[in-house]
Symmetry: C2
Subunit: 371 residues, 2 copies
């Protein structure tokens, strides 16, 4: 305010080099703006903007002006205000990332790759933890929109799809990770869960098992449904009847794995093998087994989904179906930026990444069928 007039009537000529500016400006601790640089250098904000956005040559700005501006900008430690920039350009260089539970190593891995990949594109990510609640997921999506993100990577909670339908047209680019909805035409990346579960089950069958329990996670979510399908397909293929009472559990948690295994041990004493559909379920199963003094794999064999880093270090190194979550994160970012950059209609389908069966020591070869 003090020197408003000075600013307005500033002559662009002969800005005597070390003219003492109003000291409050020189040492002020608020972020410098284009205006301030303009004032201190005697050039217009336009020119500063052009130089600092690398358009100096396009506008044939003199080398001298350019270097002067750059120098001053550096001196003042100028950082462009992305808010203003975003408002003007309608490009915020930001995407949203919605994760049900970042403390789950599976999602943490995805988040890491997504963050890293996003940064490569010069974008930032706003992180939302939906806490496995559809309510919070909806809220997060709204919040992200109000912050003008250009796209979002969403690991949906997974049971309701209504709130996602509106994104189908491509109003806001979105890509689903891990869980998706076959009937909802949004692009997605997931693992080939059918094939993974099938392979795991077949491994057990090939080792002579016929009574194989299936410790499932949250029902009606795509990973769970597909894994159960793979499990059933393997049984059927080998002419083993599917026994629905062997398919138990209802959430992707350690606790569910624990409880269901305890029950199983009581009610189905002939079960000699478990297919666990999630690493947390498996941890719970291990705890239950230990409590009941059953040894793995002598008394009971187990194969689990996911291959957390400690799998090899467990009391019995665990045979697992590994999903490449880092690749999932990477592909998700790729699909998202394809959409953002082309601004064309959404990619139609989804991508299913292959799983890898990692054999360790938790499966025992049965000489004679257990049943």
């Amino acid at each position: 305010m003090i020197n408003k007039k000075d600013i307005d009537s500033a002559t662009s000529t002969t800005s005597t080099t070390s003219q003492p500016h109003s000291s409050s400006l020189a040492s002020t601790n608020t972020q410098p703006t284009l205006k301030r640089i303009a004032h201190e250098s005697g050039v217009s904000v336009t020119t500063i903007s052009r130089v600092l956005t690398g358009q100096a040559s396009r506008y044939r700005i003199s080398k001298k002006t350019e270097t002067a501006v750059r120098k001053l900008a550096k001196e003042l430690d100028f950082v462009p205000n992305q808010l203003a920039r975003g408002l003007r350009l309608k490009k915020t260089l930001t995407i949203g990332l919605v994760i049900p539970d970042i403390s789950n190593p599976f999602f943490a891995g995805i988040a890491q790759q997504a963050t890293l990949g996003t940064r490569k594109h010069g974008y930032s990510v706003i992180l939302c933890d939906s806490q496995d609640s559809t309510e919070l997921e909806i809220q997060s999506l709204g919040l992200l929109q109000s912050r003008n993100v250009e796209g979002v990577v969403l690991c949906p909670v997974g049971q309701s799809t209504d709130h996602l339908a509106e994104y189908v047209g491509g109003r806001l680019p979105i890509v689903l990770v891990d869980r998706f909805y076959p009937e909802l035409p949004l692009p997605y990346v997931s693992s080939d869960n059918v094939s993974g579960a099938k392979q795991a089950t077949e491994l057990l069958i090939e080792n002579g098992h016929r009574r194989i329990a299936c410790l499932q996670g949250l029902r009606h979510t795509s990973p769970n449904e597909f894994r159960v399908r793979g499990y059933k397909e393997a049984l059927t293929k080998h002419h083993i009847p599917v026994d629905e009472t062997l398919i138990v559990g209802d959430s992707f948690t350690e606790q569910s794995g624990y409880i269901e295994t305890k029950l199983l041990l009581k009610t189905q004493p002939d079960v000699k093998a478990i297919l666990s559909l999630c690493n947390l379920n498996a941890l719970g199963a291990i705890r239950a087994l230990a409590e009941e003094k059953r040894n793995v794999p002598e008394d009971i064999s187990i194969v689990s989904f996911d291959d957390p880093p400690y799998s090899a270090y467990l009391a019995t190194p665990m045979t697992t179906v590994a999903q490449s979550y880092s690749e999932m994160g990477e592909v998700a970012v790729k699909l998202l930026f394809d959409q953002i950059q082309s601004s064309r209609g959404q990619t139609k389908g989804g991508i299913l990444l292959p799983t890898t069966l990692i054999k360790r020591k938790s499966v025992k070869r049965l000489e004679s069928p257990s049943n």
Copy 2:
């Protein structure tokens, strides 16, 4: 453009209720703005803004107008543009979160609490993964500033402090988590590492151990230095000479743990106990031990820092020094918002959270001293 004149000369009176607006407006798919609502309702943007920011009563806006505005806003699915808002208010309701490696469960836990806590304050978080690189950490801090975050929670990489000095005055509120710098007066939250390491070491000593190796992580970082100090203090207290050749390792990784343990086994055959300063180091140690056919705890005892969820499920359930990382995240957010909200000078000191020694089965009682 088409109906610019209409907009400008819109009379606020008698907006015939269902007057057909230019259809492109009614069904456009771009986010509605105050202007649009104003246009469609025949009230000024000012009024809309006041209603929607809950200042209706303050400005004595008529009940009728208020409800009409609210209704329309809801119909149009209006979401205020936070960019514009932030620009105007100089409040972005956003904080930054810089993590060295989100795939590390320790940091993931902190990130989760920080995200959740932040949301409670109505704020969002921009996540940056510094990949354990000071370079990236500096870059992230700049990026966050350019996005006008109101504060940042930083888990510093930890070896250089120069780039942090500028935050001391409180230009941008910041709180350090896990690693900090005693000589740098920035608020921080960490664990009481000295005491934790000391307790763990004393547990070994009380069980008859005297030759205790220390598997350390990244040197010159505060957690490492303090843990080593705790280790030494315990030894000294019990009149056991500190042998520097027993303090080995140089990074918080599985690999470092593995290599150093292998070497240790060769060069220091009399070592019967290991204090591991990080969960990953411990995993590496376990692998080395298994390869060399040493049993835990029969041949060698081990106590580790951090208590990841699988600790109890390892071949030998691990005795650990647990840090409450969820509490760390929570306290960090609290300290940050204290600063943001008070806009007063920074909190001076830091907070050290107590650790908990969790006894499991990886420590053996030596009947006669091993030395």
